[in-house]
Amino acid sequence: MKHLLATDGLDAETATAVLDTADELKHTLLGREVKKLPTLRGRTVITLFYENSTRTRVSFEIAGKWMSADVVNVSASSSSVNKGESLRDTALTLAAAGADCVIVRHPASGAAHRLSGWLAEAGTSVVNAGDGTHEHPTQALLDAATLRERLGSLKDRRIAIVGDVVHSRVARSNIHLLHTLGAEVVLVAPPTLLPVGVEKLPVTVSHDLDAELPAVDAVMMLRVQAERMYGGFFPSAREYSISYGLSERRQALLPDHAVVLHPGPMLRGMEIAHAVADSPASAVTEQVRNGVHVRMAVLYHLLASEGAAA
């Protein structure tokens, strides 16, 4: 594995290898006072974020540091991007400065893919930390890790992805990964929040959350991405909440073993009720915890071996 740009096309074997590595890393570090492994000593990892983020950037930074890599954070607002430097020039500068891996978040779909092309000659790996409405593969991997932990296996499990699917790179990455790992995915959203071409995705579609809940093993709530909405996608926050919010009443419809996920940040009261977000069924903080181990596993598979560059 040279880059991690998308889960679309990621084969089950590689995905499982990353998840197994994450499991072992979690087990290895459990209860240890010194959470540091020498594996990536001397490697330089740069996070290049053109969008705000807390959990993803911090998670990658901690993952890199726990593997002993040198981690440098670059955010667009405090770099030469502010002076008008292009993504390509910024990337080439980082590669020339010695980056072994660039972790990029960008508002434009496809940015990570373009970057990997520009950096091919320098041999720098690229990890997509979210590009526009396209993909966010490490989020899908950490969701899968959390589901595997709670449910044992993803094979033949039924997972509902609920809410703003059209703007959600998390949803897109999860659809592909969950399908690859053998799960059945149902999208639950109003028609205005479903992407064009949804019929080509390996999913079923529903507009009735109440009807779906009793038969699912997990429900993945999405954030309503107001910053990406340039029109009326639903009449009001209250109506959205009534139709697609995960309330306590709705939680009661779920099977006892069902897991509730949310990629965060959560809009409590609208997408998910306080009581549900803090209930034992909710795996929101586990998702963040697993995120570090999954990102360590990704960096390990990308950077531990120069032989893997082929």
Partner: protein
């Protein structure tokens, strides 16, 4: 008792160094040596050594050694496994490896005598990685090394405290330790050169 008559019906290019019976006897002898050297049985349980096998085959070897020590000394020392993958210095030269399980005794390894157990001692780099890994798990009182086969060709100043069998080898030859837990039978084989497999 041997799994097959020595020298008979062996695949071309390999010679059996230890039969199943030899492996059992060797482990028994090593168990006695551990008891003697660590004065096991004389001290309280918290002073017993901790046996940590290095995956893959060091793990069952550590379990077997601990069981034999238990039979001879009347008290079985704790044993576990120490995965050293993330501490190897040759990671960059090879494709990423799958990680194996690390299992330490519940009381940890602080102030204990830790005996690292592996199947073959060759360059010494695995042991160096294990020493680095141990340091991240605690501070043992002392670290010793037990190996079933020492085949020479050290690249680091490391030697074993307990050696099942010393086997002079050519660098290009291979030594395969087979154990019933992982391979279905006990045997140690010397393989003819197939190019430098280091």
């Amino acid at each position: 008792m041997s799994s097959r008559p020595r020298g008979a019906a062996e695949p071309a290019g390999q010679r059996e160094l230890l039969s199943a019976g030899d492996v059992a006897r060797t482990i028994a002898r090593m168990a006695h040596q551990v008891i003697e050297k660590t004065a096991l049985g004389a001290g309280p349980p918290e002073q017993h050594p901790v046996l940590l096998g290095i995956p893959t085959r060091g793990t069952p070897l550590a379990a077997r050694l601990a069981a034999r020590i238990g039979e001879f000394a009347g008290t079985e020392p704790p044993h576990g496994a120490l995965d050293i993958t993330l501490y190897r210095d040759d990671l960059r030269r090879r494709p990423p490896r799958a990680l194996e399980e690390t299992q330490l005794p519940p009381d940890g390894i602080d102030d204990r005598v830790v005996i690292l157990v592996d199947d073959v001692l060759f360059s010494g780099r695995t042991v160096r990685a294990a020493l680095d890994a141990l340091r991240d798990h605690g501070r043992p009182r002392a670290v010793q090394l037990a190996v079933l086969v020492d085949r020479g060709h050290r690249e680091l100043p490391i030697r074993a405290d307990y050696v099942g069998k010393n086997v002079p080898t050519a660098r290009a030859e291979g030594v395969s330790v087979l154990l019933s837990e992982t391979d279905g039978l006990d045997s140690v084989l010397l393989r003819a050169p197939e190019g430098d497999t280091r």
